[in-house]
Subunit: 326 residues, 6 copies
């Protein structure tokens, strides 16, 4: 399964959306259309222009959008993240030569569309998300989520843990997202992993947070995390370094047990990913992000997300899809 | 058929793209989803989030994208027009109270996706477009096109005239697009209607051009048009006026015979529609555009297009879909 | 009081924020600083760079920000409306020659800062807003609100009606905002005036809605409003017309009883005010907006708001403050 | 001479800048290149891609840039106005059918480049500008200036009056620019016409100001102007009106004596011309601007300018060149 | 004092600007509001939303804005730098865990507003700035300046040296700013440190310039600097390196004597800080900038500035405040 | 000749475009104007504001624009690349201290303007380009090209090889551009070097491609290149490394034989150069780009280009000229 995660961006695919597509009729599985046959501006923007279907049945993995941003503490807009990630994914081809992967040849993948969130009620939205993911997970399909603010990872992990038990977590982010509450609320994009711990959804000895930085409320803002058993890797410990050695340790730590990958785009330095709501300077580079994703090869990935993509702040675009190209 | 054209933006619809959609199961036809049930950022961006299908069979009308812009003389980018128009159409609801129209209750409408154009060869693209429209028109479906630069109207009208014979034309534009050639070429976005006249595709006594303006190559740039029998209505003759009386005359002129409507978004003043490649100041207003579209009620519309939408120049967005809301 | 509302933008003022300000020490009241003495980029951005104070005591009128946008159905961002309106208000001077008004000479005005909204819970935010406005209204100060999405007008009117009884309403908007519910919720930016009617906060025979337009869910979307006694003036009935005669009728209708003015910036055509979340084409012009505001002269205005200013969509800026300059 | 002013945007021209230009060798005069022969993105951006020359000798009229903006009270950037106006002028063709004018057939016109202003010293810049214009005017060439903030019109008019005596002035602007001083300075973009009156450069009985609006320092901000004999036409007196009758009166008033036209782009509503530093809402429309320019036909125009074009605030571009297309 | 400089972005604070703020009443000193209690979009934008006061009396340090940009050689706009830095500083919290610093617990800090500069006269502005800083410095308060173009550092250093004698200088910049004159002027943003040397304001043996790069007028553009005793560290000598060793040398060099830190944001590569007027490629990274600021811990910092922030060129924002988060 | 290529950005120059330029009359050669004498916003935007001339006679090297983008597979706009590169080059000075180079003292350089491409026909444009470059090359002038999409390098290399025989190639790019065909066409921006190999224009043993990355159609996308003898250096092999050692090897490989340098701006990471049509994440840094260009010192460079600059996607600008400043 990890081969898919690490190779999004790679092979031939059926597309029912465009006329005059001349593709081999013997393509056994869904594939993104090649720009050799279908022009890049052509076709409706599903993820990688894969087929859209309403049911996860028969799929090994699927892209799902969760266009919610009412858990955002600063600049909103991640409700349009799924739409923009899909649009920019038209650049991706089927093979990933760096990984030696042709995922669409071995896996059945499609785009399941979006969860119909409630934009006016965060509690209700979380219920809707959990319910939708319970169905996806029940079918044996691995969900790859396009967010949406980071609140959404909490109900997704509820569905994950219901199926797999407590899961390991690779959390790439500028922030730990383990605040207890803010403005009187237990639920917003700063609290999802606190809630997950509260509910026993995480295998805390297998939680790694990478890219953490920024000003804080106290001098030791990572005390809670470390007391739970999390490994917290600060951005400043990554500066000017390859993360290949770190990922070797992570692979060792995760072993063969279920792992969820949650990637907040603000882990990256805002120069590389300005389209996000709570940017923090001096973050990871795209090459480090690729090292992280590629470093997961061989692990038992049961789900993953890319969250906090808020496209209106990335006026040049062409950059928000990055983490899918490992 | 005109009720549809004049009321895009009106009625309940099935959408297979989002989970948790709670819509009445007895909806007899395709409808755009109501924001009362489906949040606006939810779902893949087909036109008005209508169902997407590969074949025009069984449809009364259909939206079709033609993402081509290599006939552009100034700023390119209209290849992304279909994508953006679809995205912004998520704002439209099913009823048009101004027209008293509920088009989706009487007509079967869907989105047929895009013609797979050749971005490197204008001649070949025109052949591909004509071929695609021949199939659509043959099925009895009325094509409503999302452009693309204005070159595309030439192969569309080839397919139209093949079915209907020479058609009437309501052409709303800042430019007459009847140049003979430029840079040595007979085919670019300044020549489509000259080529149509050359091939006898137009019923020239029923051609009206509205919104024409700008500097020119000669002192009498409309001589060719008028010598063919076209009515040319200059933008300066529209300033500060309602166009309701003009449209009464147009309805009279068009009668019950087949009419094609070609709407170049640069007919509008660039304040209202900056997202286009060859803007000209002192153009029509949105209210005049609505008067034009609404004024076609009762006519025998066999097809229509909205062209020259070049979204990267409309940084605020929220404005390019205007002409569909008549 | 109306003289203030109609003349925001007018006289000499004390500013504690800048050094080297050379202003007459005998200025009897708060005034915006003149650009003849203080450079426009100088000073912190309170509204019109008026003094900021924590209490409404002693004020005739006050500006208040409500940076909330989680009731938004389409594009969010109005949480930054108060900040941008204040920034752009640095252009305003103290006198309004068109109205013959020098409001700051007769009225004590200040900026009260913002209500500390709860960004993650719309219900709780409404409670906080109502509570804050109860205190302002109790002091006899007229609140002039900088929004924020339109949901906020509901708790403001709760505080208003508690003091004044049911109030008249001049509501300028593209939308009637009288939906009953959406996505299962009774509270979002499409429902505030329905809730106000439900709670008896409005003097329904003195409610006028101006600028209404757009596609709808049904053929007669204004039935509810008219059945309550509202006057609904469609945008299409305003095209190419002066609104001076309409406002004479409105003044007649409102009489001397308490009136609240709620101005949604999307009443304007998006060409004039692109910085908003749910734009609708073919709207009012700025000159019509000024005619509306100026037409209120002499009325008993007990409060007012400018809502739905979402600045990130107005990339040129310099336009969002318009309605304050009547 | 007015035919040129009123018809910028009109005939065949030599261009030394591009290879493979195939133009008739018998073109007797400078002409903008036709898009039929030279692609619009081709060639260095002189005004209308006319030839550039260092001396005004032999020219009937010439474009001159003055890239200065240190007289700006609010948003700077007009130093890049000349560059952007030239860039956008690539859209203009040689004939103006509305005016029946082919100016480049009767007049010798070129681009003289820019005055080398001193960006750090406004006084010194004014001296440099006056000196440059004295040379241009001495040669008998009519200068058509691309600004730059409005301060520059003061030294230009010094050169004008030195040659022609006190001149008439058609001043189109949102502001009267007759302040006496600000921040202790007698020279900035709010004072040029006060300085001109002080020095006797204007024939005050032939000064007309059109488009004036906005908040002010006093209740009667036009007293100075009217006491000098100026006619002040407020924007609100232009709303929803054709300006053809006004211009008939202006032509009568100006007679055959020398007239200078100074056009501040902020006269237009910011919807049409957002690229400026001190925008004021509810301004003129492009059609009114064309009526003003076209209405000058037959007058004895000795010079003109377009000032306050600050391109970074017009992100869509394609609109700043408007006033040259009359 | 350096603990403050190195930890801007860290501790609880009183804010008089928002209603419903629920903060401990026993907070002994000014603090930025925590996002746990006050939503980030709430409140007027002073620096870090600290209290604003008119006098430096009683303060250990204070933020001061100098909104001047008429010394700019290329793109203007830094007059709006103070406003935008304050706006973006709403993201900062009170503790800096990387430095182990809680500056607001030991120091009294506030925002003093802006110096009222003269936008039309650079000489006069320099006089106004010097006078304002003389007062601040006299009170014993350390000024932390938000610029404004780099010209402003010259009058600030006049005030500094008057109090402290010649000061050491840590100057981070793409340019040495030691030109003698340009366009005939001795005063613009390329000359401040030349003027400081001329007047003996610097302890030249303790001047370090870091980040220098770009094309030049001569082959040895650093001769003047080095002949004065400055250490010039080129950007190319920083590529791919940690600056921790360099800063150890700098600390050694500076010793315990008074040091001023002047940080021009164009020291950074424009990818990280596009909002500036004279960008140069291949600059420092944010992590290097933090290493520089953090490397000053323990030094005797008597003042500092962040200059050349020109926000309109940073369309994504969220990045200009970077250097305050060390 | 390489000294020029490696030092663009360096000496005194005559400029006929601005008045009041006070420059030494004894400047023996063309030079960019110094900002000490000519303000940066002053003058028409030729490359580095060098003189423009129609003929290459007498020149050692020349800048040439090729404003063509109809070979683009994704986002168009590179037709405006030459215009923007020239505009931004106003920042460059005459000396390059890093290289110890004063190129304008030893070489005669000018700007030759643009090739008049055919925007509607890629085949015809290639013929026009080849013809133009044949004339330039014939005169002994080294062409330095401002693109334009990468298709243009194919006809340029036709002219090069006609003069020099098969040339070595240093190709810096995210993509190999050796596809055989797409959408049925042999000519677009993905095929130029395949066509060059087909026609024997390259000395394949001296071809080096640097910066290659991204998803692909097959698992071994570099097989063709390597089978021809190309050296392919992947971006991932450059991460966090100085390229000085690589360039030593390249110099060894190239020897004294003719070398062409083709630099696609998308070789850079999109954070540094967002203004391009087919961005790929995790690319080269500006410092690596400078190491590449500077590493060519001493080689026999017969021509070079900077292609795929598509300015509308670089909203901050100030960055597209980067590669010329080595």
């Amino acid at each position: 399964m990890l081969r898919l995660l690490a190779t999004w961006g790679a092979g031939p695919v059926r597309s029912g959306l465009c006329h005059s597509c001349r593709q081999a009729s013997d393509a056994p599985r869904n594939q993104p259309p090649s720009p050799d046959w279908v022009a890049r501006p052509v076709g409706l923007c599903s993820m990688m222009r894969l087929p859209v279907q309403a049911s996860p049945e028969g799929l090994d993995a699927a892209f799902v959008g969760v266009p919610l941003d009412i858990g955002t503490s600063n600049r909103p807009g991640a409700r349009f993240g799924p739409r923009r990630i899909r649009e920019e994914s038209a650049m991706l081809r089927a093979a990933n030569p760096s990984m030696g992967a042709l995922p669409f040849q071995s896996l059945a993948v499609a785009d399941l569309g979006d969860v119909n969130v409630n934009l006016y009620n965060l509690q209700d939205s979380c219920g809707r998300i959990r319910e939708a993911y319970q169905k996806i997970v029940a079918s044996g399909c691995v969900p790859l989520t396009l967010g949406g603010d980071h609140t959404i990872t909490y109900p997704i992990l509820q569905a994950m843990a219901e199926k797999h038990g407590p899961v390991g977590l690779l959390h790439v982010d500028a922030h730990t997202d383990t605040t207890d509450k803010a403005l009187g609320e237990k639920l917003y994009h700063g609290t999802p992993f606190r809630r997950c711990v509260d509910e026993g959804l995480l295998d805390c000895e297998r939680v790694v947070q990478i890219g953490i930085r920024g000003s804080a409320a106290t001098l030791d803002p990572y005390r809670y995390n470390r007391s739970q058993g999390f490994r917290v890797v600060l951005a400043e410990d990554c500066w000017l370094k390859s993360l290949v050695p770190l990922m070797a340790e992570v692979r060792q730590q995760m072993g063969g047990k279920p792992l969820y990958i949650s990637f907040d785009i603000d882990a990256l330095d805002p120069a590389y990913a300005p389209g996000t709501g709570t940017p923090e300077i001096a973050g990871l580079t795209p090459s480090q992000a690729l090292e992280i994703i590629r470093g997961c090869q061989g692990l038992n990935v049961v789900g993953g997300d890319l969250v906090e993509v808020s496209p209106q702040y990335d006026v040049s675009a062409g950059r928000t899809w990055w983490s899918w190209t490992g």
